[in-house]
């Protein structure tokens, strides 16, 4: 093909998407960076305040609370990742029947609207008539008001977060497991290594690239948690203090209190946090991820 004409076709076919990304993605990034340095007036409009918003948030207790809650949530959800490895390893057992049925069942929470999931679990976690406290009661434990108590709320939300993502992560792990060449296991079998030993000596090390990827996306998603908190915790509940996440604070600040400049600053801080923690994970991976 004539190369000039090929150029023209290339630009033409990319144009719709490129324009859309420019308007709805790139421009907003620039604009948010700018707004983070402004204060929004009562009747609209923005005035430049430099780094004052950052300074304000730096001494803001709610911001620190949100940061601590979000980090705790992320750590809890990351701690749940091994569950998905176990599920994937079990699904990968040779000759297992019913694989696709199991996969469907484990995947149900992933395809269910988070708002509906959150409502279901707020029923189960209810302090008075919830099933979880009922079960705890039968073994003599007096369960707390999970979603009304700032000391417990984020743990309850993390349980739901883990439950909703087991199926998704297990699919990723299963793909990783299926990529491990059979001959490693055959060699181990000849050496007389048992199933459990094979799992720890072959499966886990060779799965580490997938594990790393899952840890990174799980962390990034966890740092942006909003839906579950918004639907499980009442707006006026004292538990909000212990479960208000960064994105929740962003929503409250920007769209309940209409302080958009300050909200933009929170979004920028979230971006910074995600970048720093992702970079940290990439640094750390050299110590534990095996690439063949």
């Amino acid at each position: 093909m004539h190369s000039k004409r090929e150029w023209a076709w290339g630009y033409l076919l990319i144009a719709p998407m490129a324009l859309g990304l420019a308007v709805f993605y790139l421009w907003p990034i620039v604009q948010t960076l700018y707004l983070s340095m402004t204060e929004s007036g009562v009747f609209g409009g923005y005035t430049w305040v430099g780094t004052a918003n950052f300074a304000d948030l730096f001494t803001d207790e709610e911001m620190y609370g949100a940061l601590a809650n979000t980090l705790l949530y992320a750590v809890l959800v990351l701690a749940g990742v091994p569950l998905s490895i176990v599920v994937a390893a079990l699904l990968n057992v040779p000759g297992l029947r019913g694989l696709s049925l199991y996969r469907t069942l484990y995947f149900l929470p992933v395809v269910t609207m988070p708002a509906a999931v959150a409502l279901t679990w707020s029923y189960l976690f209810n302090g008075d008539f919830g099933a979880i406290n009922h079960v705890l009661g039968t073994v003599g434990i007096d369960g707390p008001y999970w979603l009304g108590d700032p000391d417990f709320a984020i743990y309850a939300i993390a349980v739901v977060g883990i439950w909703s993502s087991i199926g998704y992560n297990a699919v990723l792990f299963l793909a990783g497991l299926q990529g491990i060449p059979r001959h490693y296991y055959e060699a181990a079998e000849i050496d007389g290594a048992g199933r459990l030993r094979q799992f720890f000596r072959i499966t886990l090390p060779l799965l580490t690239p997938t594990t790393f990827f899952v840890m990174v996306i799980t962390m990034i998603n966890a740092l942006q948690v909003f839906d579950l908190v918004y639907l499980m915790i009442d707006l006026k509940s004292p538990a909000l203090e212990g479960s208000r996440t960064i994105v929740y604070l962003f929503y409250e600040t920007g769209f309940v209190q209409n302080q958009r400049g300050l909200a933009a600053t929170i979004a920028v801080i979230l971006l910074g946090l995600i970048l720093v923690l992702t970079a940290f994970q990439f640094r750390l991976q050299k110590k534990w991820v095996h690439y063949e």
């Binding site: 076919l13 421009w27 079990l90 297992l96 609207m113 708002a115 509906a116 990723l172 994105v247 979004a267």
Partner: protein, 271 residues
């Protein structure tokens, strides 16, 4: 080698599957209970066939309208994504033009930025356009996506070059090659992206919550949130709404699960 025993795996997997399934089963049961039954201690595990919960939920919020809104928005966003992403992906994978590499890097950069950074300026754009409380406010930003472009580009790259060359010699222009020859061959990619988009679009909460505050213009996610504000702990009503809201995507998943799972496994292998 003897066939390994699989029953220990079944024991664990079945127990786990029960934990996955039980909340749904229970939601369905409670959606058919009376309010006093739903508050019993110890819990009652059988429905009381209170079908009126479903009628009540449709009466108290414009649920039918919100259902329709969600269907329209999801369909439009998915169709738009499939068309625009595949066009851009085709160009990135098959055509040579100056700046292609840099443009693609820019697309990838967009992928790394958390969604909250787009929210406030998008809200202001919608305000400027007078699109607050409209369906187009939900559709317009949704049809553009770097992820879909990236995903489909990989599918286009996997097809042999000879296909385009042969068609090109026969006088086909790139648009014809895209539409008649390559697009049918990336069907698995389109189905995977389509399923992922349906799932995300159907469930998304933050943007719809912010941009459409009129109950008539809400999607189901935001509708459920407002239902909760209205009914607090009247779980039979809340669950009737939840069942209506989540069932369509669950049903679609049961039919199309292979495509969705292929799409997700793909994000893992190329991520």
């Amino acid at each position: 080698m003897s066939r390994p025993r699989t029953w220990p795996a079944h024991v664990f997997l079945a127990a786990g599957a029960l934990v996955m399934l039980a909340p749904f089963a229970w939601q369905l049961v409670v959606s058919l209970q009376t309010l006093p039954d739903s508050l019993r201690v110890p819990p009652k595990f059988t429905p009381s066939w209170q079908w009126s919960n479903f009628a009540d939920v449709f009466r108290s919020v414009p649920l039918a309208r919100q259902f329709l809104n969600t269907v329209v928005v999801t369909a439009a966003v998915t169709a738009g994504q499939l068309l625009l992403c595949s066009l851009a992906a085709f160009a990135f994978a098959r055509l040579r033009f100056p700046g292609r590499g840099a443009l693609f890097l820019l697309f990838l950069a967009v992928l790394m930025v958390p969604g909250e950074l787009f929210l406030i300026p998008r809200y202001e754009i919608m305000m400027e356009l007078g699109w607050l409380n409209s369906l187009q406010a939900l559709i317009a930003p949704g049809v553009f996506g770097a992820f879909g472009t990236f995903l489909l580009r990989q599918f286009f790259l996997s097809l042999p070059r000879e296909l385009d060359e042969a068609a090109s010699i026969d006088g086909a222009n790139p648009l014809q090659i895209y539409w008649h020859i390559l697009l049918p061959l990336v069907r698995p990619g389109l189905l995977a992206l389509g399923m992922l988009t349906v799932m995300w679009s159907w469930s998304s909460l933050l943007w719809p919550l912010v941009v459409n505050t009129d109950p008539e213009m809400m999607t189901l996610s935001a509708g459920l949130a407002s239902l909760r504000g209205q009914f607090l702990t009247n779980f039979p009503i809340l669950f009737a709404g939840s069942v209506v809201a989540s069932l369509p995507v669950i049903a679609l998943f049961v039919v199309m699960q292979r495509q969705l799972i292929a799409g997700i496994a793909f994000t893992g292998s190329k991520g």
